[in-house]
């Protein structure tokens, strides 16, 4: 253990060199600036900025890219909260509560809890990375398709917490999402499904497009149809920019729980940030003392619903570095691009990395601590400025949101077809809003559906079609047992007279 700290100290020696500090700063700044653009998630940001690092020495370049990685994740949350245009799947949950809070004038606290939560989760994540990387990597290798599938079943079941006021309409939304997820190439057999001969659909429908369509366009259309002047209630009236004492009290446990959920998920290969943010959100919603404040209940937005998923998201980002550095396995698109960056410098991440490029890796880990502090320092002062954006008059505000939404959607594939699709999905979003169908389950379904199908088919192929595989392997079985508990414990509680929020 002592050795680890000595090495880390050496790492700080590298990270705190003025040049490297500057690279970390530039990385965080660029990452945040580009992450703020809608439709551009961390993966794309890192990919775009990869060439910029070509002229920098390896340590500086990697430090900068990790800054970009963290910065982009943070920038994405900012747009989700302010404009309801989540740029990547991991900030969908943030948009859900954060944007509702923003609408009721609490954009400041939402942004602040997201910044501080990201900082805390990122820092704890890096500490865990420092201490347990080899251990976690060992465990992570035990995850196969059967384990992933049972994990996803758990995710599907806990998703009921985002279903809104009516269980049935929530299920309809989920089914709609699953159906949208089926469109495009079947990931196992490569057969196009439900493309109706439209070539643009073979790649599937981008979830960013659906999210922007349902959230931003749907909301703009709904607003112009039913409420063009803005209602005279407390909506959009700015209250305090900073978090109140109560906000702090409610955010703390959510940050820690989010971190505890996020880190392990980041470190399992093929994990991704979707499931941990979904799980964190449903955990917060189940545990909250103020369930009526959640947007699904028609509330004004609950701060723990922003704090938890944001922390989970950043802890996942730190967790993803475990398999990346120790095994050479990228667990997310962004991590894959980071591997490409390593390879640019002839560095092969994997079991030998700590031996062959020790100083570099420890410098990188140390710079993650530095980067986290830098992001906080960079972003907290900006909270006030971002929040003030929402005081722009309604016509210009919505016009701006739609312009950014179409730039994001158009920029992905340069296809006018996508813009029309975005509009159609926006109209569906209006109808859903009008009849009180929750929109989040659509996104959850379209992200988890294809993932679950792929893991299910792989698991069954490995087990030669034996469905009991999910109960024969210890880790998978554990998840299944948790799932069954999550399903039936509420029923038992209800029988004993405890009333739960989502009773239909």
């Amino acid at each position: 253990m002592m050795e680890t700290w000595t090495l880390l100290l050496g790492g700080f020696g590298t990270a705190l060199q003025p040049m490297n500090l500057m690279w970390a700063f530039i990385g965080c700044l660029l990452g945040t600036a580009i992450g703020v653009l809608p439709g551009i998630g961390p993966a794309l940001t890192v990919a775009m900025l990869l060439p910029v690092t070509a002229k920098v020495d390896p340590a500086g370049a990697l430090i900068m890219l990790c800054g970009v990685y963290y910065g982009a994740a943070y920038g994405g949350s900012t747009t989700s909260i302010l404009m309801n245009t989540p740029g990547e799947s991991s900030s969908i949950m943030t948009a859900l509560e954060g944007n509702t809070m923003a609408k009721y004038g609490r954009a400041g606290p939402a942004l602040a809890t997201s910044a501080i939560g990201s900082f805390i989760a990122g820092t704890i994540g890096v500490v865990l990375l420092t201490l347990f990387a080899p251990l976690v990597a060992d465990l992570a290798l035990k995850f196969g398709p059967a384990e992933f599938f049972s994990l996803m079943v758990l995710a599907f079941v806990t998703v009921s917490s985002v279903l809104g006021a009516s269980m049935l309409r929530g299920m309809v939304s989920l089914a709609l999402g699953l159906a949208i997820g089926l469109v495009g190439m079947d990931s196992i057999a490569g057969i196009p499904r439900y493309t109706a001969g439209v070539p643009e659909l073979i790649d599937g429908i981008e979830f960013v497009l659906v999210a922007v369509g349902l959230f931003a366009v749907g909301e703009a259309l709904y607003s112009v149809l039913y409420d063009p002047k803005g209602d005279a209630t407390e909506r959009n009236k700015m209250s305090s920019i900073w978090m109140t004492k109560d906000d702090w009290k409610r955010s703390w446990p959510a940050w820690l729980r989010g971190t505890a959920i996020g880190f392990p998920f980041g470190s399992i290969p093929a994990g991704g940030a979707e499931i941990p943010t979904f799980l964190s959100y449903s955990t917060e919603r189940k545990l909250s003392k103020f369930p009526k404040e959640f947007s699904g209940e028609g509330g004004k937005g609950a701060i723990e619903g922003v704090a938890g998923p944001e922390a989970a998201n950043n802890a996942t980002a730190a967790g993803a570095l475990v398999p990346l550095l120790t095994l050479g396995i990228p667990t997310s698109a962004t991590a894959a691009i980071l591997i490409a960056a390593f390879q640019n410098y002839n560095i092969q991440p994997g079991p030998l990395l700590f031996q062959t490029s020790g100083p570099l890796v420890w410098g990188l880990i140390a710079s993650l601590y530095v980067g986290n502090v830098m992001l906080l320092v960079l972003n907290l002062p900006l909270v006030g400025m971002w929040a003030r954006l929402l005081t722009i008059p309604k016509p210009q505000l919505y016009a701006g949101i739609l312009v950014f939404a179409s730039i994001g959607v158009y920029g992905m594939r340069q296809s006018a077809f996508d813009l029309v699709l975005m509009y159609v999905i926006g109209v569906i979003g209006v109808i859903m809003r009008r009849f009180d169908f929750p929109v989040a389950p659509v996104i959850v379904g379209m992200i988890l559906g294809p993932m679950a199908e792929k893991q299910l088919r792989n698991a069954l192929a490995i087990a030669q079609g034996d469905w009991l595989i999910f109960f024969k392997q210890p880790i998978a079985c554990t998840f299944m047992v948790i799932t069954i508990a999550v399903m039936f414990v509420p029923i038992i509680l209800r029988k004993r007279g405890v009333r739960l929020a989502e009773d239909d």
Binding site: A165, Y226, G400, V403, S406, Q414, I431, R434, G465
Partner: protein, 155 residues
Amino acid sequence: MQKNWQVGIAAFILMLSAVFGVGATQLPADTGYAGIGSAFMPAVVALFLLLVGALLMWQACTGGFRNFTDGVVDLVADHRGALWVTAGILVSAALMTKLGFVVAATTLFVCVARGFGSKTWLRDAITGAVLVLPVFWLFTLVLDVNLPHLFNDWF
């Protein structure tokens, strides 16, 4: 009015279920080692849609959807505003490659602002262009994303 819409929505879900169900039967039946193939998940989703669609139809026909968050409210729709927003999105989509990115996005900005009741055309156009230009340069010059020309070639 409410009831017709609700029945319509339920019917749409049932229709979707039929489309996905029929589609599933046309996918190759080859299942490989897994025992399930490309058609399995679509069939599951079609059944799921059928189930929720049927329940929704039952609710719609027996007193309407239940458990509204804000209760059932009758809202007056402002179709003119929505038309402006619709026109803005569709026209800018159609003209994106023809007129160039900045003109298309500025048109969108002006139309949406008009839909929300803004009467200051010129100011909106200038605001829109000022907003779009830096984003355009950031995307094309710094990030190398291919957007249509700033203005079309004939400018």
